[in-house]
Structure formats: structure tokens, C-alpha cells
Symmetry: C3
Subunit: 672 residues, 3 copies
């Protein structure tokens, strides 16, 4: 069920840049209505206009704008202004500016340049949030709080050092526990007391992995705490509207899963590098991020920002080809978004994003290619409005775990020039998506029992109890696929002793003995054995990492074909309890994952919507209690023939035929 009953169509709007040009503000409203826009996000980066001097507030201009929007039935997501502070604030309270890991304090500048710990910053943010909440928090046009903006970064100031030490004390209780957890006897780095701990630094400690890992966790926790404080101020001001933060593509600085108890709706800002690579490739990459965001809460999300035209910050700013904006907007909806929002409505005249695409550009009139396509999107959303709020059900999941990634990429190990973790996750994702399956992309703390198959590639770190969760899942009939470089370390990056994958050697019927790093351009191959359960005739190339396993009860399906480990298993299967445990030893090419995913989906009877989906076609479903909606999108350059069993479906959107044009979208509907 959607929070807003209708798809939101709109985006970031910065009238504070045009207060001296009332004729432009007037045109904006006119053009928004023309473009079927029903929402704007207001107040991001408006602090210096809302509070031009310390404790001098000026909310009048905003009130007028919200009233005008309301008169025109345009809803407002209201931002808290904490993402960029005014100059006077930085000048008056030096502690609000961030300190880098080299312990140098930044000057004023940029966006995310504040300390999340600073009491002064928290006080000033609280003060303005309470006032905004009181003033606008119950305005009928206002429908949500957009807290800060694209939260990111970290601060190493003395206040953060102290907060970090307290965080560690809470976690470890005694310094001995910390020393053991971080293996500080190595290189004689034993701490006598918590007060000795300092955050990692480019000019100091950088190789103590336990410290690095806990620091990253602290940064997430401190940012969560900051958001909580923002939220409390809004509640104090009397507003109970949903709270949202906008997340970013593959952002490694924060563990977004930790925000699940603080915000109400997941959302993200999508800026794919369309046309920089093949559109179909970019589409599937973007799809995985949509699924990752949706899987955080396992419910509909919002596409908070996207670019109506070219972005301005990529190395080359390619124009979106005709139809691409529509297709990518509907793709978000296909994956579970209840909105299509842009950055930005009106293009800025100056400063660093003045060439970022906008609904209304510097030319300033609606007779542009972009404006027309935006208008069409608004109209399309109206056509499929009944889908708004519907759910996404997935029977397969991939674990893509940020904490493990932090640890894995920080560790110096078998391949410092690149482990290809995300790429490996993506290869599995692609293999599943080619079958038209919805896929959940989850982290290792989430539940897995609802899935028919769970893929666990390269899960270097097993959080406490993960091995029990996995074991129990297989015992009770689950199908688990694990790969090389898994179960190596515990939560504080200490190596498990006694053999790996930790706690699961019997489940998989093998032990990993050594792992070989292959240089760029080096390859091995997996070939099938005579007596295996799955006997493909193909030879699959693998690269980067080759795990050498000693098998006990496992059956080898594929074996290596070269090097001194020729004949060693490279893919194995093992029955355990009521389920099955598969182990992949090396970084295989895409074709392996395509074939292996198809094999497993068939073998374990995972339901699919269609069979034989053409290359480059994306299929998604959303469902209500009674109905299933099927999105079919063609991201190929050319039209594609696709044999749809149209008798079973009605057509909700698009043309009912067996030929799908390039960038065309069709939405079908069937009863459950």
C-alpha cells in the first residue's frame, strides 16, 4: 500500500535562488502543471535564506511558495537544511566544520562539511528543525520530511574521537577485550586504556583492520544518531509526517541497513551513466540498486532524484536519447518505486551544478525535448496509477553485505588489486534476472527463510551466528550457494581457526585449503567431471581467485583444467539435511552464472512468469492482494520479438503486440 495513494511526480525545487525574479516563480507553477508534476522537494540547501543570521529567521518566502503550490495541488516534501550550513554558522562555531583523517580541519566550503557529533551543530539544526516543523509540519501541502541530503562523510575532530572512544567502551567494556578483538599484539600496538584510541589516519594508524572496521561502524552509528536527533526536533515541533533520507548508488560510506528503524520510507537518487555503456547493461546495473534499496525494508520505495537530461558531473555528459527518460522512470516503478522525482525542476544560474539537467532549463520555455518527455512521464504514471503501493515478491535472494565488504576490501590478502565483489554479485543477479525473476538483494543480518534459493558470494565475514542461520536454512530444505573467500573472519576481522568456510565445512562437505590469486589476464577453466549431477558440455573460464578445496562428502561438478591444481574441484554440491549446499571455488564468467542459475531454478522449482525471455528484456512483477502486474521493458537498441501469452493478461500500459520497440514499456495485468 502506498503512503501517498498516487505516484509522486516532481523533484527538487529551489525557489530561494529566484526570489528576486517573481515572474520566474510564477512561470514555474504554470510549467509544473503543464508537465503533470504533483510534488516538489523544497528547502534542500536553503538554510542561509531561512536563517540569514544567527537566530534571525525568515520563513515568509517559503510560506508563500508552499501556499501557492497548495493552491495548485502540488504537494511538498520539506527538507531540513542540515546538508549545507551558512557561512556565518561556520564562522561563529568552528567546531561544526569537519576534520579530515589527517587531522586538519576543513575550511568552509562544499556540501557535507560538518561534524555529526558537534553539540553546537546539533543545537543549531535542532533549533531550525523545530521551527520548520511548527511552521509547516501540519500544512496540508506538506506530505513528508526529507531529512538532510545524501548523508555522507566522516569527521575526525576531538569531539568525534571522544564519541568513538565511548562507542568502543560500550561495545567492548574492557580494553583487554578490544586488544584481543583487534589483535593489537601484532606490531606491538596494544592499548593500555580506551583513552589511547584514535581514529584511523593517513598520518597514523591505517593498517589495524579491527580499528578501521569499528570506525566505519561508528561513522554509520553516529550518522544514524544525527538523523534521530533531527527527527526528534521535528516531532518536538509537532509534525508526525513520514521521515525520509535519500540514499546513493553503491555508496560505501554508510551501512544503510542501520537506518531502518529511523526512517519510514527507503529512497535513493539514481544517476546511471546512461549511454556511457550499452543501455541494457546500465539498465540491469540500475535494477540491482533499485532492488537493493527496496530490499532494505522489503516494501515500496521512492525514486527521490533522477536527471531529466544530462548530468553535469560525469566525465562526459551525454544527452539522454529520446525515450530513455521515460523507460528509466518506469523501470524504477517496475522495481517497486512509488515515485518519479527529478533533480531539478528549474536549473540553477550559477555555481557548480549550473549545467545539471532540469525540467526547465536556462532557455526557460517549455518547447524543449526534455520538457515534453517529462510531461509524457506524468501522463504515463496516471495511466498505471492502480499499481501504486503494490508489493514486490521475490523467491530468490543474494546476500550483498557492506560490513563484510568493508573488511574484505581493507584486508591485505589474496588480491589487493581487486577482488571483484560487486561484479560477482552482479553476475549472479544478471543470471537470475535473465529468467525474469524478482530478486531481493539483502544483507547477511536479514532473514533468509522465505527464499527458495539464497546466493552468498564471497561472504568474507560471518557475523556472529550467521553459520547457524545458514546451516538451519539448509537443514530445513533451503538451497544455499556459497563461494570462495567466505567465512574467513569473524565480526572483528579475526581469522577463524580450524578451517573455513567457518562452521559450514560439514554443510558443504569440504574445506578450503589455499586460495590462489590470478593476475589480470590470467585464467583457469572449469570442466565437467564424468559423474556429476549437472554435466554441462561447456568449459567455463574463471579468473582472479581460485580456491583449492579438500572435499569430504561433496560431489565435484566442475574441476579446474589448468595449473598445478588441475583436477581439483571448482564447483561442488552437497546434500545436507533436507536441502542442498553448493560451493563455487573461482570467479567464473557470466555464462557460468547464467547456466548455473537456470539449472538451480529449474531443479528447485522456483516459479517464473515467462520462459525464454529475449536478451535485453527486463521483466518485473508487482502485486496486490488480487492482481499481478507484469512490467516488460526493452532496453535493447532494436525492437525485439517476444512471444507473450497475452490471453492470460490484460494490457494496462503500452501496445498489445508481440514486438516491443527499443525503450518501449508494456505493463500487463493478471489475476493471481
Amino acid at each position: 500500500m502506498s503512503t501517498y495513494n498516487t505516484f509522486l511526480h516532481g523533484g527538487d525545487y529551489n525557489p530561494e535562488q529566484w526570489l528576486h525574479s517573481p515572474e520566474i516563480l510564477e512561470k514555474d507553477i504554470e510549467y509544473m502543471k503543464m508537465a503533470n508534476i504533483n510534488e516538489v522537494t523544497l528547502g534542500v540547501f536553503a538554510w542561509s535564506v531561512l536563517e540569514p543570521e544567527d537566530e534571525v529567521y525568515n520563513f515568509d518566502w517559503m510560506e508563500q511558495i508552499i501556499n501557492r503550490l497548495h493552491e495548485n495541488n502540488i504537494k511538498v516534501m520539506l527538507a531540513t537544511p542540515s546538508a549545507a550550513r551558512p557561512k556565518w554558522l561556520a564562522d561563529k562555531y568552528e567546531e561544526v566544520l569537519r576534520v579530515e583523517s589527517n587531522r586538519q580541519r576543513n575550511l568552509f566550503g562544499g556540501r557535507h562539511n560538518h561534524c555529526y557529533t558537534s553539540p553546537q551543530y546539533r543545537r543549531k539544526v535542532r533549533d531550525i528543525n523545530v521551527r520548520l516543523s511548527k511552521k509547516f509540519g501540519n500544512h496540508p501541502a506538506v506530505i513528508a520530511w526529507h531529512i538532510s541530503n545524501e548523508l555522507s562523510g566522516e569527521c575526525h575532530c576531538p569531539l568525534c574521537q571522544e564519541a568513538f572512544r565511548n562507542w568502543l567502551k560500550d561495545k567492548y567494556k574492557t580494553i583487554d577485550a578490544l586488544n584481543e578483538a583487534w589483535a593489537t599484539t601484532f606490531w606491538s600496538h596494544v592499548y593500555n586504556d580506551f583513552s589511547q584510541v584514535e581514529s584511523p589516519s593517513t598520518i597514523g594508524e591505517s593498517g589495524l583492520h579491527g580499528l578501521n572496521l569499528d570506525w566505519k561502524r561508528f561513522v554509520t552509528d553516529q550518522t544514524v544518531d544525527f538523523v534521530k536527533a533531527e527527527k526528534e526536533a521535528i516531532l518536538e515541533g509537532g509534525s508526525n509526517l513520514p521521515m525520509i533520507i535519500n540514499m546513493m548508488y553503491d555508496y560505501g560510506g554508510l551501512n544503510y541497513f542501520k537506518f531502518k528503524d529511523v526512517v519510514d520510507i527507503a529512497s535513493w537518487d539514481s544517476y546511471p551513466r546512461w549511454h556511457k555503456e550499452d543501455v541494457a547493461e546500465i539498465a540491469v546495473d540500475t535494477a540491482m540498486q533499485h532492488d537493493f534499496i527496496r530490499s532494505l525494508f522489503k516494501k515500496p520505495f521512492l525514486l527521490m532524484e533522477s536527471c531529466p537530461s544530462a548530468t553535469n558531473w560525469q566525465s562526459v555528459s551525454k544527452l539522454k536519447r529520446p525515450g530513455l527518460l521515460l523507460a528509466s522512470s518506469l523501470q524504477a516503478v517496475a522495481h517497486g518505486s512509488d515515485s518519479v522525482q527529478y533533480f531539478q525542476i528549474r536549473q540553477s544560474r550559477g555555481s557548480s551544478e549550473k549545467f545539471h539537467g532540469a525540467v526547465i532549463d536556462h532557455y526557460g520555455k517549455p518547447d524543449t525535448r526534455v520538457f515534453k518527455e517529462v510531461t509524457e512521464i506524468g501522463s504515463s504514471l496516471q495511466q498505471i496509477e492502480e499499481i501504486c503501493g503494490s508489493n514486490t515478491v521475490s523467491k530468490v535472494a543474494i546476500i550483498f553485505d557492506l560490513e563484510s565488504r568493508w573488511a574484505m576490501e581493507d584486508a591485505q590478502g589474496p588480491r589487493n588489486k581487486g577482488l571483484y565483489y560487486r561484479e560477482t554479485v552482479m553476475k549472479i543477479y544478471k543470471g537470475l534476472r535473465k529468467l525474469g525473476l524478482n530478486v531481493d538483494v539483502i544483507n547477511s543480518e536479514q532473514s533468509i527463510n522465505e527464499y527458495d534459493i539464497v546466493y552468498v558470494p564471497m561472504l568474507y565475514m560471518f557475523r556472529d551466528g550467521f553459520e547457524q542461520k545458514a546451516r538451519s536454512y539448509v537443514e530445513q530444505g533451503g538451497n544455499l550457494v556459497l563461494s570462495y573467500w567466505s567465512g574467513i573472519v569473524n565480526e572483528t576481522d579475526l581469522c577463524y581457526l580450524g578451517g573455513t568456510p567457518y562452521g559450514l565445512m560439514d554443510v558443504f562437505g569440504l574445506r578450503s585449503t589455499e586460495i590462489d590469486g590470478l593476475d589480470d589476464g590470467e585464467y583457469n577453466h572449469g570442466v565437467s567431471t564424468e559423474n556429476t549431477i549437472w554435466n554441462p558440455s561447456k568449459i567455463y573460464t574463471c579468473e582472479h581467485l581460485c580456491d583449492l578445496v579438500h572435499i569430504t562428502t561433496a560431489t565435484p561438478i566442475l574441476v579446474y583444467n589448468e595449473d598445478f591444481y588441475k583436477g581439483y574441484p571448482v564447483l561442488t554440491a552437497n546434500s545436507f539435511g533436507k536441502g542442498n549446499a553448493y560451493y563455487i571455488c573461482a570467479d567464473f564468467e557470466q555464462e557460468f552464472y547464467d547456466d548455473f542459475c537456470e539449472y538451480l531454478v529449474k531443479k528447485h522449482n522456483v516459479p517464473v512468469e515467462f520462459s525464454n525471455i529475449p536478451k535485453g528484456i527486463q521483466v518485473n512483477t508487482r502485486e496486490t492482494e488480487d492482481d499481478v502486474y507484469v512490467f516488460i521493458q526493452n532496453f535493447n537498441k532494436e525492437a525485439v520479438e517476444m512471444n507473450l501469452p497475452l490471453d492470460n493478461y490484460s494490457v494496462l500500459y503500452g501496445e498489445k503486440n508481440q514486438r516491443i520497440g527499443s525503450l518501449e514499456t508494456i505493463v500487463l495485468k493478471r489475476k493471481k
Copy 2:
């Protein structure tokens, strides 16, 4: 008319390095005379010998040397020593050392490591300049002041911050005007007061384009002011000789045009990467810089430094092939230089430039290949002495504007990985030079009415009134060629609203609607339409940037051949008033510019000296009231046949035949 009646032949001479070896100083004079040297530049970097301790001056050694030079008819350009300060000065007055943009003050070291604002530094420079002026400013051997050396760099110290704020106050008067000019509402960076402004910083503000641009302007103005202060000290000391600064190749740190009211003669230090690429290519690149320097004042300039042999600071130091030094020296003269000067006469024994080529090397005797070639140059200059002081007349010009370049390259826009501005200017320059035309390379503030054709490639920023100057030029019969990404922003980098190219849409009969960035290796093509005025059969490749224009009155000459904008115009022509306005939409290959320049030159009857100039042959003219001198130089590896109409000319230099050897120079003369 030349300032000195004779070509100067000489260069930097550092006797202060050899004061303990009088026999070497004696040999120097003997060898200079042997090599036809008639000038040396003295005192660059001699401060620590001229003033070994604070207020302890020792000018005696210099006096002796100047006297000895005078006895031997060798003239002296006397340097002010400000380009490198003594250690004692830096130790005594810390403020003289530069502060980097990260706000860290440098230690003593290097060359240009001083604050141009520092009152202490200005006082010390003034004190020694006054004394040098008094002592040597009217010495009969001394013919000019060489102020400082290769001025460059910037300082971010508190004194400079204060000076910058005052500069801004003078410019904007009110902080509101500054806020509007810089669009500071973006990201909430509004200033309440001038005192809040800080210079751009790697650890602070770096993306506020208006700030970045004004900072660069301030750096130029502050450097100009420093040079003025040096000059005043010299005048105070009683010397009225010409003042010169030596400029550098394609140096982006200073807008040299701003020095036109301070110095008397333009000069530069030419260090082409000879033999690193094809010699003919390097020659034309060097030619453009000669023309840029000459166009600053539109009168003869000086080649202040050049290397007699290999430089020592390039990645690979290639020896100059036999004949190259002579050819490149005469090329400078062909483009308007009244001197050939070297760095350096006597090679240093130690420190960082000890392997930089010199007239006299460590071996120390004149029986070297280099010494002989230097001697021949001196002799050649004597043969063509009547050319000294003559002028260069150009009927075509290219605008190559540094302030626009600063803004364009700082802006985040359609192609952050490279806009190829200089390369585009160069392609036009080459197209014109292949026709044997003298070319002025000017900035957008200079007058354009004297030219038959003016090329304005990628003039991103239109300075106030430029659009009127351009419009009036065309109205009155001028031929203007504008290209994509022009007229986008005003002087403070605010985007023009209402359509671009700003103020000239009617002149060109079109509006630019969108611009597409092409990645490296992506291409489009221009093909001719049926009904165009110029109908080439060739297809021209274009890349990097593709402007999509909507035409009103313009005629398309070429159209795009690929992508969704296939058929859109890529070259247009428009009659306006008595003139013509051409618009180029994309970054075309050289061949396009060759053909298009030839077409325009013929169409608009621009006079040329010769037709059918062979590839790799450079033709230049200089002229007096009565005579025209034609330089013909072959920069090919091989000799070239060239059909010269020798009946109309006398031969002033070189051999009179139709075959020009590799690196050979011929100078012809005709009556006007």
C-alpha cells in the same frame, strides 16, 4: 621600428656563480665575441650575492662585469632580483614566503616562493631596485630592465586574503551584488559580509565558480601591481629604460594582456619540445605562441630565452638536430621577434639546471657543435639586420581568451574530461597558416574591426558588450565564425537566460538547444546538404561536443550523419547586415578547418602572398613602410620543391632556388 636598431643576440648570464674563477669570466667575454653575441641578461637570481646580508649590499662585482661587457660592446639587460629571495630574507621576514591553497606556509626553497602582497617583501624589493637603478640605470651598456623572472604562482596568506577582500569590495561595492554575481544561494553559501570571503582552497571552497574566477583575476591584478611597484622603484632610482617581463608558453596562471600598460615590450621564453613530435607540428605550435605574444601589443617582441641545446627538465632531453637551432631562431624573427636570446651563456656547475643546455658547456671550449651553431645564428642576424623593427600585418584573427578559458575549464559541464579548447584554436590557426597568412591571436577585449575574418571558437564567456562588438562587426561587413559552447555565461560565470549564443541568435540565425558530450573514441560526421552555398564532397569527422541548434534564418551547410540528431545542422551560414556569420556546431577534424578556411579566405578575398604552399613550409611576412620581407622556412625532414615567383623578389638571406632543404630558411624582399 625596433627599440634597439639591431637584433639582440645573447641571453642569461650568471657570472655570480663563477666569481671565484676569474679565468672563466675572462674566457666568457672572449667566447661571446667569437659567437657574435651582443647582449647578456644579468642579475636574474643574483640577490644573495648582491645583498648577502640584510642591508649589506655588494654591487662591485656586477659593476666590474658590466664595465668589461661595455668595453667589449656587449649590451646588458639588467634583472631585478625579485624572482628568488635569499635565505636570510625568508628567515627574517616569514611573511615573504608563500602560503598554499591548503593554508600551509611553504618553507624556503624553489624560485617563485614569495607573497606578492607582503609589505616586507615589497619593501626589500623596492630597496634593492632603487639601488640597482641608481647604480646601473644610466650605465651606457644597460639597455633595459628585466623585471623579476617568469612571474607565476599565487599566495593564500592572510595578507593576500585581505587584499582579495578589498579587491572584491572595489569591484562589487555591496555584498548583495557579490552574492548575486556568484549565485551563492546554491548550496547555501551566501556571504553576509566581505570579511567572510576566503580564497578558494583544496580544503574548503573549490566549487564556487564565481569565486574561483575572481580569485584568478585578483592573482593577475596583484602580480601586475607587484610589477608596477618594481617599476616605480626603478623610476625612483632615476632610470627610464624599457621595462620587460618574460612570459611563458601557454601559461594559464596570469592573464598577460593585463600587463600591457605596465611593460614596454612583450617577450617570452620559448622551450618547444623539439623532436618529441614531428618538427613541423612543433613549429606551427611554437608559431602560434609567437603570434599570441606579438598580438598582445601588436608590435615586435623579444625572444627572451631559448635553449641552445637540450633542456634538462623535459621527460626526455633530446639533442637539437643540426640546423634546428638556427631554423627555430629565425622562425622567432619571422613572427616578429627582434632578438634571439638563450638561457644560458655559461652552464651552471651544480643544482637543478646544471644539465640545461648552454652556449658554453661544462667542457668549456668553443669546439662544440652547439657553439658553432650559435655563432652562425649571430652571423645570420647580421645579414638580415634591415628587418629589425619591422611590423607584422594580419588580415585574419582568432580570439583565444584566457578568462573565458578559466571559466570554461572550471565549470562542470558537458565534458569534464576535456574540452579541447586550445586544440580547436590550433586547428583554425593551422588552417590559416597553411595559406601562408599572418595570423593575430587576440583576446576578446581587443579590437576586431581591422580584420577580414575573425574566428571565435568556443567563447564560453561573453565579456560585457562582446555581443555588441560582434554584432556591429558583422553588420558593417565583417565575417565572423563562431562555434559551439559560446556565449553561455556572463563575466561572473552566470548562465545567460533566454537562449544562446547570447545576444547573437539573430546574427547567426539560430539557437543552441542542447549539447551532447561524446566520449573518447565516439564520433559523428558532417555531410553536405543539397542546397548549400558550399558543397564539399567530403565527409568530415567530428567528436567531443555536438551542439544541437534550432535554425531560424541560417542556412545549413553541413548536417550530422548519425545518432538521434542525424540531419540536424552542424555548419551554418547566415547573412546579417553587410557581413556573414558562420556557426560551427561540433569539434571537427583538421581537414574540415583546412577546407573551410580556404573557402572563406577565397570567398572573402583575403590577400595571400603565395598560393599552393607545400606542406610543412612556413611563410611569414614582416613589413616596413616601403618593403615587404617574406620568410620561407622548411620544417620538413626532407627538402621540398616550391615554385616561388622569384622575379618579383630579391633574396636577402639563403639560396635562391626552387628547392628548399630541410630546416632551411630563405628571406625574400619586395617593394610594397
Copy 3:
């Protein structure tokens, strides 16, 4: 004669990481004995466990471990703990932390992060060393002191600045002498007083070559002084055991030759990038480093560290292929090592080296591939025990000089993008090694009279008197091969005046006039002249640098084939006194060195063990008073046929046949 009568087999052991797991410590002893390990290196990085708080010492655990090792006949090299200081020490005495060249003091972290000058650090190191010496210095298990660990780095703190100034005062006596030596008049950098001198800095002086060079010398001397202080503390504690430092591969930060009067045995840590390139190539590269280390003292050395499996810090960690560990261990012995030692016995559970290979890995049991190979090495060393302590005799030497390299690579000269010094040394080394010759790799201060041929490639800096040593060597019948870019500067990097190679122009019968830099991908060739002493039919490619010499008495053997110096000599020979002086003008390809080395070895009757050694086979000899031991090792991927004159030899190790398997080692023995 060996110091220890038996080959040492063992390595770094860190029981302080496992004090809470006595069962693991017990297993360690059991496994060491199983693996034929007879030595461990103890206490490296144990400071924070030995002295957990200031002046609170805890040596009990170490005593128990040493006693247990002794009971099991395992010897101990005892480390001083200075390579990594405890956190409490850094917190209490801030001066012990290093200051970088940008003058920022490091925070605590890493390993080598201490000031070698700091009196506080020296006092704390002295205190613990004295105590360790008293406690363990005469324990029967303890056989040597391992001082600090992999000494490296430099500090720019005020204490070091002062020490540097005193060092300069000692060296130059007067500031005038320093100014002259460093050519400080260049860029006006004259010093008035020693107190003005500061170390080179990234934010200050970086281009004053004399300063840079003396700073590097000071860093070596200060590190030597630190080691001396460590040694004195041990002697004061009453222990007279041998003192050792472990050196590193091609480490440019310290002139290891300066440690010859401080330490008793040379040793190094060998971590070749096995399998990253062809094994045979890596083997010869490693061989040169073995020979460099052995040549420091010209007596047997120790292989102090090597990795039993893959390292963890390379860009890709490749597993050692079966047999490689054995072959590389015996290679060290072949070149003069009396030990095979590993880092590490037991793998660390955490921190930055947790994935570095170990004898006992995280799995923790002996049924691993690595453990078995280590065991075999122990057994092999026992088989060849009689070789322990024998000498290496070389009749050829190559000068590979670090001080000259420092100066050459710092100077801005003919090829700043790469001079290929080490590669050139390596090409000569390979040419000689293919003939099966032992090779000494010495520095220019060592004696040369004992060699039949001495190669002196690119000796840019001639130390005082080197030209006399070289001249006298040739005069008395020696054969000297010098190459381009030699004899250019004196000890303080001042260019020699009057012609180069300095002082040897008559010896070589030529003068270098100019040197041309060739860009990557540019080549010239050497072709033979008609009337030369050696007249190869081949044409040899050369690149990078081409010296143009003017010959007087020398005979050209090869001449250039291209460019304006076609026909100029590129290889010359000159008789001088009783000897011969050869001069190579350009950077020739390997084949030239192969042919030229073979020619010279035959011509000058240098004795070889075998003729016609197959490619990829390494031959070494060690000898006692009566016997010669010949090591033959096959580093090819495939087995090789080799016709050994086995009648003259007995087989000490390996199989006696004419076919040598890949990675196989054979040791023969003959009477002298």
C-alpha cells in the same frame, strides 16, 4: 667458515600473540620439530608485551618460551624490539614519533614510525636492550642479536634538523665550503650560516641536489649510529653474540655498505614476485640481490626472511607452485647463504599481515602442502650440511653504486622519465650469469684489483679518487668496461669541468661530447665497422640514452646506424698500460651484453665451470680449502638436457643424470 656450523632453518616466531592459548604454543614446538626447524627469531615487535607500561617489564613469558625451545634444541635469534614502539611510549614522549618531510608529525601507527635521533627513544631502547641482554644474552639457546627490523625511513623533526646541521658542520667545516659544494648561488640559495640549513622538503627546498644527497647520507649515518647505540646497550648488558640487521631487496633508503663496521653478518629478507613474471627471470633477479648482499662483506650471509607460501601485500598473491619454495631456498644457499628462514612460523590471527604465508596457517595442522615442503627443505639442508660456511669466489664484478644512483636519479638530466640504471646492471649480470660465473656486485668504494674484468655501467658520480683506482687497475692489466653517463659529477654532485668521463679520457681514448635522450619507443642500432677487433655480424638495438663521443686513441668496434650521429662510435676499445678499457655509449639490448660478456670472458681467459649452459639454468659454486661445490638449478618450466662432465664430480644432492627437471636442484662436488 660458518658462524653456526650448521645451516639454520627457521624464522620469525611471535608467541606473544598466543599467550592466552598455551595449547597452541605447545603445538608450535611439536610442529617445528616435525618440520626440521632448528632456529626461531624471537621478540620482533614484542615491546608492548615485554614492557606493557613505562618501566614495568615482563620477560617471564619469553624466558619460558626460550627454555622450552632450548629443551627441544631450537636456537634463538633474539630481536631488540625497537622496530615498533608501544602506544604508551608514543603518548608519553611525543618526540619519538617521526616528522615527515612536510614537517607534519605522524600520529602513532605503522611500524617504522620513530625518530632515530630522539634522546628519549634512544634511552628507552637502551633500557630494554640492556635488560634483554642481561636476561637472555648468555642463554645457551640464544645465538645472535637481531637488531630492530628492516630499518628504513627518515625523520625531519627539529632534533634531526639539528643533528643534520652538526653532521654538515663536521663535513664542511665552513659555510663557504658548503655553499661551493652545493652550488647555492644558483637561484640565490646561498646560506650565511649552518643554522639556516633545513632538510629537503616537499613544501620547501627540493631541487638543491647537493642538499638532497647529503641528507640521504645523513639518514644512513644516523641510522648506523642508532644501530651502534643499540649494540652498545647489548654489550653493556654482557652479551657478545653476533649482531645482525635484516636488509631489504633493492632498498634505496639506506646505503647498506655503511653498516659493515657495525654488524657481523649480512642478511636480507627475500620476497620475490614469483610467478608474476617468468620464474627464470625472477630467479636471476633474486640472484643478483643475493650476490649484492654477499658482496657487502664478501662472506656467507643469512636469508633472514622468506615466505613459505604467498605473501599478502603484493597486488596479487600467487601461491608458490610445488617445488618453488625448495628451489628458491636452495638458490639462496647456492649464492652463499648459510640459512633458510621464514617469515613466519605461525600465522597471525589479525591485523595487516594475517594473510601472509606461514609454516603453520590458520587451519593449524601439519597436513598442508606448505608444511610438507618446509619439512623437505629442512631435510635437504641436512644432506648438504658440509657446504655450510664455504666461500664464494668471483673473478668478475659489477659496480652497482647507491650513492651515485641517488645523485643520478635526483639530477634533472637527459632522461627524467627513466635512466634504467638497475636494468642496465642487470643486463650485464645476466650476460655473466649465463656463462655460469659467480659475480660480485660491489660499490665503487670497494677494491677491484682481484677481478679479471670489472664492469662500471653508468657511474654518474666518481667518488674522490675513483678515477685513480680505475686508471691504476687498467694500467696494471685489468679489463675495465665503462659506459655512458659516467664520471659526470663529483661527490657533491658538481659537474666535472674540462670533459668526461672525468680523469679517464686518456684511459678510454675518447671524450663524451653530448648525450641524446631517446623517448620510449625510439631506437638506434649498433653496427660493426670493417676494421674492428670484434666484428659481430649482428646489429644490436639500443635505446634511452646515446652518448656521442669524440675518440682520440680508441678503436670503434660498433657505430651508430641512424640519426645525425650515424657512424659515430657506440662501442670502443682502448689499450692502456697492460690492460684494456672498453666504453659502451648506449643502452643496448640484452643480446649485446650476452655476446659482449662472452667475448670478453674468452678474450681475457676468465675461468668457467661449464661451457654451453642451457637457458634458464643457474650455476653457482661455493668452495672450501679443498673442495668445490657446484649448484645446478633449473628454473625453466620444463625439464632440460644438460651435458654434465659427471666423471669429474661426485653428486652430493639430487639425481645424477643428464636431464634436470623443472625446479630441480643438483649439487656436485669436486676436488680443487
